[in-house]
Each structure stands twice: as structure tokens, then as C-alpha cells.
Subunit: 369 residues, 2 copies
């Protein structure tokens, strides 16, 4: 009689950061796919595209003209989701949409202010993060540091989200290498949940270890697991300061997390050698992503860290980056998180261990080189 | 000086069912779209497709042959995410993937059993829900009732999720009109959250109203709001037993909810006239969806209700259906919930009131007729 096997039998894994479960059905990876296929990204792009609104010297949709930049380049998002100035949201204004029920618990609203920027990673239209040099990735990280420090100093800003959408499959409308920063007057839902989890973890252990941290503990557990052998390893790559791994509770097929190995609250706290280490892990991970299906691997990526440097729970926070890539089986076959996933619970096919093992097996040299 | 306007200024709305927020940026609807466009669904399909594995009499991928069915047709999912029988998940098996850390709070797992079925709505390959007759939609609802009753009686089943993925954009691999039922040995995350919210709402009011229900209160508030005029109306259509509306806290551009107007725990409790009323609202809503962009409107749809008829909190539950459609601007331009949405908080452009007003304006006659 055979026992339970994590690579054959359905199970749920708990995500202690988000406080939610994921259903894992490893046998399901055998399912044939007859549905929508993604366009394979066009691989040949010019170094400068005169029609691209992010290339140096070009005119943007709203009429502004980009500098002839040669490194990273930051400008305000022309279609910002939030603005610095707007009237206050009063009970009177709420009454327009919620009538006499405006005061009820069912019609809760609050105003949201802030600012949105675009961060071009490079003047080169034809490159992506894994194709940039380490020095250039370091410049991107230093640019993030600068924005984070500047926005952290504004009393009107409560949260700074740095992220990148890469690839048409992830709603990115322009292949020029770039990310975004959305800074808000409120802490949004996802980071708020993570902070609650990190605080609760520390609180439960505070009498014996006042600086207990879930992610410090997780990193150290995963170092042990990786050392114990292939079957229990979720590690993709690491250096002195950072580790890239497929979290035990990953949802997306090749979801990964880059996590600081020591307790660092935010990118503001990174010294030069840590910046170089982060650049190396970002490059190594995204390069393996591209090599996996020999394509420019789409994903959404973002930094989770202290909401701002001065947030009251900043000391509890632990810098990490999430990568959520949709591809499942090839450059054109993706996982859809729909139906059951939307109504009930995220579901994945291959296990985190299988995904990590496939990523580890990739070369650290980009397939285009 | 102008005041705050819900159709011009950014704000967050709270979803009291899911317990989460959505960021609303109404001015952003003006943004041009240069990114991925969806394939417009091919509109001409034969009534019977010999290559379709759902059509009557055809052979499925795994070799089984479909009955020559003439109404609805239910069969086991050939690639089920969960199975009725599998070994137990022991600490020993967990140790294989989590090593010495298997007992830690960071590596929580549980076994998941259950069964998955496919429900064909009609033998006709070329029709979709809005194109079926009311009698045929009633048969679909009665089929759901039958499955729900049968699975509810199994002690091994804790939760029954009925849902439909429609359209290639929503990961549906076959245009034959069909939905799925995934029944699990555990209550998944999303319904578990909703049940907690419904219980907390009742608990807070129990001394004055022992049967207080958030959704009963919400339906009645939205009836008032709709009667008060266009600006505060989120109603799409209603009859005696059901209401279709764009919830105040909708995330997807044209997200809607069909909700029972009286307190009904599950479809098991619907009498014949309520079934007919539900069929009418399902048809009316999905027909308006198709008419909006003159296409077969993609969505994921699912029922939320008592997990099973015998669940201890069944009396607290209130039958409703969620529709999550991705299209934003046309048959080919969708909203992507990526980047900021994945890392921080869902974000929408047009307001719930604007979406409802556009859906209300659609004809109740299908554009193909
Ligand atoms: O079962 P299907 O239709 O092949 O697959 C679809 O629905 C499932 C349940 O929502 C999802 O897990 C899949 O990712 C999706 O492609
Ligand atoms: O700002 P972009 O790249 O045009 O738009 C993309 O990213 C945004 C932030 O994640 C999303 O809200 C949009 O739906 C997506 O298409």
C-alpha cells in the first residue's frame, strides 16, 4: 500500500504571509490544453523605436517629451490612478450614490490620493531586465531607493508600491523595459494583510524573541531544506544577501519570491554590496525564467517592504519581491486563475518543488546570448 | 469650488462580503489602450461539432463516450483536481518536502479530497446560456439542485462549488455551453471568508434581530437606491425573487451579482416559481452582457450559498451568484488585474454606477435574434 505523496495527491498549502490557502493538484499537470494560446512575444525589436512613448527623446500620448536619457528615467504616469490633490469625500457626496443608506456598514468608502510614476529601466527599447548588465540593474535598484526615500518623506503618502508588468499576457501595453510606482495615502489590502501576519508572528514569540520574524525563520528553514536534498528544495538561487525560491505556498505555476537573508525593512536600508547582491539575484532569476520556455517570460513583479520608512510597523517588515508569472507549459500555454479559483480558492497543478527544480536546472546564461 | 464626485475622484470602496477593499479611479477610463487585444470569439459554430468532446455521442479525450443526451448532461471531469480516494497526508509525508521544519507554522498542509463534474447546459454546441430558452435554463438550475442535493448527502463532502468559465479569455477550452462542479472535503478560502462576514454581521445584531442578514439588508438598500434615481442605482434587472446588480464594491468592470431577494440558504430551497425567476434573471443579465459589446461576453460565474445543506452555518448563508467578466471597453479590450492589483489592491476604472447604467440600457432581446 502506497502512502501520501506530495507529487501525486491533492492537498492544500497555507500561505502564512497572505493568510490564505492554495489547492494543489499535482496529477493535473497531465491535462491536455485545447484553449486560448498566447501570442509568442515578438523577439526582434529595434534599440530605439520612434513610435514608443517610453524611448528617449520621444513624444508621449499626452504631449510631453521624454529627455534624451541614457540610464534610468522616471516621469509621472500620464494616466495616474490617484492624484495628489482632490476634494475630500464627505457624507454628502456619498449620499449621491448610496442615498439614505450612506451611513450603513454596507456602503463604506474612503478617499484615495497619491501619485503614480513610470520608471524606465534603460534607454534601450530592445532589452529586458535579464538582458541588462549588473551595473544597470544596480542603477534600477538605486532609482527605486531614491523614489522610495523621496515619497517616504511626504506626510501625505502612506504606502509605496514598486512593481513591473512584463509582457502582453500580463496587461503590459509597451515592451520597453519599465516598471511603475503607485504611492497612496492609504495602505492597500495585500500589504496590510502581510503586515498583520508579520506582526502576529512576532507577537506570538515576543517573550522569548522580541525580533522574531516570519520571513527570517522561513529563509533559514528553506536553507536547511535545500541542503537536505532535491526533494525538499524550493531554492532557485542565492548569494550572501538574497535568496530566490518558489515559496512552499506558491499559487502561480512558476511563482517565486526574492527575499533578503537578513532582516532588512526596505530597499532604503540596502548598502552597496546588498544592492549588487540583489541585482545578481534579479538577473539570475529572470534569466532562468526566459530560458525555461526560450521566450521573454511574462510576469507581474513587485516589492513588499515597509509601507514607508516611517510607518509605525516598519521594523516588523522584511523586504521581499514577488514574481507572479502566468506561463504553465510553454511560451504560449498559460495557467488561468478563473472559475474555481475566483469563486473558491487558487489552484495549481505542478508542485512548488517541481517548479523550483525546473528553474534550478536552467542555465544562468541567457538563451539569446 | 467643486466638491468630491464619485465619478471623477479616486476612492476606495469596501467589500463587506469578502472583507477587502477596491481602489476606484473613474477618470482613468480615458486611458488609451495599446496592449494585448483578445481574439473576438468566432460566432459561427455548428449545432453539433464532431471534434467537440462535450457534444452528444462524441468520444472524450480519455476514451469515454458521451450519451446521446437531449437536455442537460453531467459526467465526471476527466482531469479532476480532487479525487474521492487517496492516502492520508501524514507528518511523515510532509517531512519529505519540509524536512525537519515539517512541524513549523510555516509549512501547513492538509489533504484535499472530493470530486469534479462537468455539466453540459445543452446538447447544442452553438448556443450559450443567454441563447437558451427559459425552460432550458430552468433545467440547468434543476440539474444544479440535483447535484447539490446528492453531494450534500455525502459525509466526505464539505463544500460544493458550481461555476462556469465562459470564453477563451477566461481560460475556457471549449465553447460548448457547460459549467463545472468541484466538490471538496474542505470549505475553500473565498466562501469561508464570506461565511465569516455573514456570521459577524448577524452576531453584531443578534440581540435585536436574530435573523439579521447582510445580503437581505443589502438587497433592500439597493431597492431604495434604485428607486431614488439613476445616480444611485446599481440595479440591472429584477423580478419577484431575484435581483441582478453591480455591487457597490465591484472589482471587474462589469462585475455583477444575482442575489435572492428573500433569505434563501441554497438552490436546494428554491421552489418552482423561484427557479423560473432565477432563470429569467440569468437570461436577462447574460443577454445584456452579450449586447453590451455585441459579442459572446466572456466571464467566470459561480454560485455562493450554504457549503452543503447540512453545514452548521447553512442558515446564515444567502444564495447569490457572482459574474466576473474581464471586458472593459470592447469585445477585444479587457481589464488586466495585474501588477498593482496583485501586489497591493484591485483597481477599477469606471464606477459601479456607470457600469450598471450601461447594462440597464441594453436590450433584453439578444443581438443575434
Ligand atoms: O477545467 P478547465 O475548463 O479545462 O480549466 C479552467 O478552469 C479551471 C477551474 O476554474 C482552472 O483551474 C483552469 O486553470 C482553467 O483553464
Ligand atoms: O499602467 P498600464 O501598464 O497601462 O496598465 C497595466 O497596469 C496597471 C497596474 O497594474 C493595471 O491597472 C492595468 O489594468 C494594466 O493594464
Amino acid at each position: 500500500e502506497e502512502g501520501f505523496s506530495f507529487s501525486d495527491h491533492s492537498h492544500r498549502r497555507f500561505n502564512p504571509l497572505a493568510g490564505s490557502w492554495v489547492l494543489c493538484s499535482p496529477h493535473r499537470a497531465k491535462r491536455p490544453w485545447l484553449g486560448q494560446v498566447e501570442d509568442a512575444p515578438r523577439e526582434q525589436r529595434p534599440a530605439h523605436d520612434p513610435t514608443c512613448f517610453l524611448c528617449p527623446g520621444n513624444r508621449r500620448a499626452t504631449g510631453a517629451t521624454n529627455d534624451h536619457y541614457t540610464s534610468t528615467y522616471v516621469f509621472p504616469n500620464d494616466y495616474a490612478a490617484v492624484h495628489a490633490e482632490q476634494p475630500d469625500c464627505s457624507t454628502d457626496s456619498l449620499a449621491v450614490v448610496a442615498g439614505e443608506n450612506a451611513s450603513s456598514a454596507l456602503f463604506r468608502v474612503e478617499s484615495a490620493r497619491g501619485q503614480c510614476s513610470v520608471v524606465c529601466f534603460s534607454p534601450r527599447h530592445d532589452l529586458t531586465l535579464p538582458e541588462l548588465g549588473l551595473g544597470e540593474i544596480c542603477r534600477v535598484i538605486r532609482t527605486w531607493q531614491g523614489i522610495y526615500a523621496e515619497l517616504s518623506a511626504k506626510p501625505s503618502i502612506a504606502y509605496i508600491q514598486i512593481f513591473e508588468n512584463k509582457g502582453a499576457a500580463m496587461g503590459c501595453s509597451n515592451p520597453h523595459p519599465h516598471g511603475q510606482v503607485w504611492a497612496l495615502s492609504v495602505v492597500p489590502s495585500e500589504p496590510a494583510k502581510e503586515i498583520e501576519s508579520l506582526k502576529a508572528y512576532r507577537q506570538a514569540r515576543i517573550s522569548t524573541n522580541p525580533s522574531a520574524c516570519m520571513l527570517c525563520a522561513y529563509v533559514s528553514a528553506e536553507e536547511d531544506n535545500a541542503a537536505a536534498g532535491e526533494q525538499s528544495s524550493r531554492l532557485v538561487l542565492q548569494n550572501k544577501s538574497f535568496m530566490a525560491l518558489v515559496p512552499f505556498w506558491a499559487t502561480w505555476p512558476f511563482e517565486t519570491m526574492i527575499v533578503a537573508k537578513s532582516h532588512v525593512a526596505s530597499i532604503a536600508d540596502l548598502c552597496e554590496s546588498q544592492i549588487a547582491d540583489l541585482a545578481e539575484v534579479v538577473q539570475g532569476l529572470t534569466c532562468r525564467y526566459d530560458n525555461l520556455f526560450q521566450c521573454s517570460f511574462p510576469y507581474s513583479m513587485g516589492l513588499h517592504q515597509a509601507p514607508t520608512t516611517t510607518h509605525p510597523d516598519a521594523a516588523c517588515c522584511h523586504l521581499h519581491m514577488h514574481f507572479y508569472p502566468p506561463l504553465l507549459r510553454s511560451a504560449t500555454v498559460r495557467k488561468f486563475l478563473v472559475g474555481f479559483e475566483m469563486m473558491a480558492e487558487p489552484q495549481r497543478d505542478l508542485t512548488a518543488e517541481q517548479a523550483a527544480s525546473r528553474l534550478r536546472a536552467q542555465s544562468s546564461t541567457h538563451y539569446k546570448l
